[in-house]
Amino acid sequence: MIRTFMCLLKRELRVLFYTPLAYAVLFFFWLLSGLNFFWLLQQLADGERLTMALQLLFNGPLLTFSLPVVVPLVTMRLIAEERRLGTLEAVLTTPISEIQFVIAKFVSAFIFYLILWLPALIYCGVIHSLCLTQDVVFLDVGVLVASFTGVIVIGLFYNAVGLLMSAFTTNQVVAAIAGFAVLFGSLLLFMLMGYSTQYEVIRNLGQFFSTFTHMLDFSRGVIDSRVVLLYLGNCIWLIYTTIRILEWKRS
């Protein structure tokens, strides 16, 4: 079973890196990461505290608002392409289960997502080495752990949304646009609700569901278990729904 899963995962990763789009996405996201790092260094030079400046690496507006575009571009082909080529029929008539198939797709997209964040990790290493040479401030490990926790749980949720959108259609572009609409729409909606001054209920709801607020908290070193569970729970039901859609289309 593990052997079959690894085989499926290996193919998914290969095909991800087979497309020029993957490299374009990597280039675009890494460029934004670089700009954020440049901005961070400028802030440090201006005398900003390291912990405050470090937020830029994970919660810079460039990254926050680019993720709803970047993730659906990666996930759009996952199931839509299989259905367009007709290979879904060939795959689902082998002894593998829909669960194995969908999880392999999801894990491959998530691994790609983690690769997107590699520069942030490298920049942390650079800052850490700078701190050691200057012998003045030390990198707060807690903030780093919390920030990466945020990156991981939000990534799980974003990729699960993209995967689900890809299961709805045979058209990759439609899947990408739908993914973008859901992610960007919810990001904006909850962020604006969180700033509502008139109704406290709306403000509280907005703040509870706002990815922007969550990432802000994570990058300040706050890990709220309710938020972690919210993202993990969402990820699980989205993957489950994707599996059910595949089963439903066969019934």
């Binding site: 499926l8 193919r11 095909v15 087979y18 007709g86 060939a90 082998t94 019934s251």
Partner: protein
């Protein structure tokens, strides 16, 4: 090998299959014949486990297709219509990948890869990228994929569609070869294909099995063994004299060919066959260069079955 009991399938407002039942024995080659939209592909997809029936049951090698779907899928090699493949993969890479997900164990993969490549004539293209290969090769890759895990049952949905005549001949001869060791189900709307490779035929029309018979049975029903075309060297007037004394031959049509040979369309009385015509021509000292059963009659028999005018 296969037992299908009263399966039905409805797609929104279209009844794709209605109360279809049949059985297929081990090592049989059965053809599903029917016009486009008759429900052949839906039936194939159900047999392969891709679609679930709304009603009824499908049993393959004693396993229920819903309760024991994994066991059923292990025993089936399925070539879907239009032969879907991953165009970016190399042939060997694709077949190895398919072998792994079909549960072929590591040490067996290499052996199976060599065997199916040899069976399907793919030895020369193992390193080639699938997307760059011709339709004929891609069809063979699909067949190799269907065979890679040594299934007991092969389900081939329109295996020769889109191929040129030479490729059609190659695929048919490959299927005939495979039929020696596997149970084979073929769906097609090409009648010659059924005649060329199948032992038994199920005729499907509007989601129902309207006729089921062996190819020989269809031939008999259409009196095909008693409808013969011959070409002999003889003058028309001499032939008229000669045929007057033969009571068991009815001459349906006579053509005088450009080289003065006669092409005759004969209908034989019961108890007589093409061999009787051969013996008669030899005894009458007639030079005979063509003796064939009338293929158009088989086509007519199938068409009549599809129209619901015949069957058994």
């Amino acid at each position: 090998m296969i037992r299908v009991e009263a399966i039905s399938k409805q797609f929104v407002d279209v009844q794709a299959l209605h109360q279809v039942s049949f059985e297929v024995g081990a090592n049989e080659v059965v053809g599903f014949l029917g016009p486009n939209g008759a429900g052949k592909t839906t039936l194939m997809r159900m047999l392969s486990g891709f679609l679930m029936p709304d009603e009824g049951s499908i049993e393959v090698a004693g396993f229920d297709s819903i309760m024991d779907s994994q066991e059923v899928k292990r025993r089936i090699g399925y070539l879907p219509e239009y032969c879907p493949l991953y165009p970016e993969m190399r042939v060997d890479e694709f077949l190895k990948y398919r072998a792994v997900i079909k549960g072929v164990l590591g040490r067996r993969i290499r052996d199976r890869l060599q065997t199916v490549k040899m069976q399907c004539g793919l030895e020369q293209v193992g390193r080639r990228i699938i997307g760059q290969l011709s339709k004929g090769y891609r069809q063979r890759i699909g067949l190799a994929d269907a065979l890679i895990h040594e299934p007991e049952l092969l389900i081939l949905d329109e295996p020769t569609v889109g191929l040129d005549p030479h490729q059609i001949r190659q695929v048919r001869s490959l299927i005939k070869e495979l039929a020696k060791e596997h149970t084979v189900l073929i769906s097609t709307h090409i009648m010659q294909e059924v005649d060329a490779v199948c032992e038994r035929v199920l005729v499907i029309r509007s989601g129902e099995v309207v006729a089921a018979n062996t190819v020989d049975g269809f031939r008999r029903d259409a009196s095909l063994d008693r409808s013969v075309i011959i070409e002999i060297q003889c003058e028309a007037s001499a032939f008229n004299t000669l045929i007057e004394s033969v009571t068991w031959i009815d001459v349906v049509g006579v053509d005088v060919l450009t080289d003065d040979w006669l092409r005759l369309d004969l209908s034989l009385q019961e108890g007589y066959s093409a061999e009787s015509v051969f013996v008669w021509a030899a005894e009458s000292n007639l030079a005979l260069r063509l003796l064939q059963t009338n293929e158009s009659s088989l086509e007519e028999a199938f068409v009549a079955a599809m129209d619901g005018k015949a069957g058994s």
